[in-house]
Amino acid sequence: MLNVDLIFKVAGIGIVVTILYTVLKQAGKEEHSYLVALVGVVVVLMLVVRVVSDLFETVKTVFRL
């Protein structure tokens, strides 16, 4: 059941980044908090892009596009 893991991984990273973002913001380090959010988005994007590209490949083969 790979697919549910991906959902939890993405959600986990999102929650961790959100917490770090708010904590850093409270601590007064605005720029660090923004950098953490950026890193989180990049990591999640890497995960999601791989799944979406697999989907596009499958669609191409199934529908012979």
Binding site: N3, F8, G14, V17, D54, L55, V62
Partner: protein
């Protein structure tokens, strides 16, 4: 059994997306994109079976394979355009979503031209 997986995945992803949307909407969008892709994966296995059955029926009814190919292509284009459009609309980018769907519609029209031409040709030959 398949439907249980789809429903479960959808509900889990939906609740997590809501959780993420309050603080960081970007993660909610990425999560819904990932969930959509995974659910479509499960659906695609069934669609491949349907496509093969259609192929056999077309061969048996000696329908020209070209037309069935076009039908499958149109379904694929609509499939992807609708997927991207809905994810973009969820993210709040309805203008980009409508552009994506417009592109899909135009590609479908282009794909359908040979069929329309064939229909007109058979019509004129019948009437002529």
């Amino acid at each position: 059994m398949e439907i249980v997986k789809i429903v479960g995945l959808g509900l889990v992803a939906g609740t997590l997306a809501i959780l993420l949307r309050q603080e960081k909407p970007v993660f909610a969008t990425l999560l819904s994109l990932a969930a959509g892709a995974l659910i479509l994966f499960l659906v695609l296995e069934r669609v491949a079976g349907i496509a093969d059955v259609l192929q056999d029926l077309a061969v048996r009814a000696n329908v020209d394979g070209l037309y069935l190919g076009i039908v499958l292509k149109v379904i694929g284009v609509a499939f992807l355009a609708e997927f991207a459009g809905q994810v973009l609309r969820d993210a709040g980018e309805s203008s980009i979503a409508s552009k994506v769907e417009l592109g899909g519609k135009i590609i479908i029209v282009v794909l359908a031209i040979p069929i329309v031409a064939a229909i007109l040709q058979t019509l004129t030959s019948m009437l002529g």
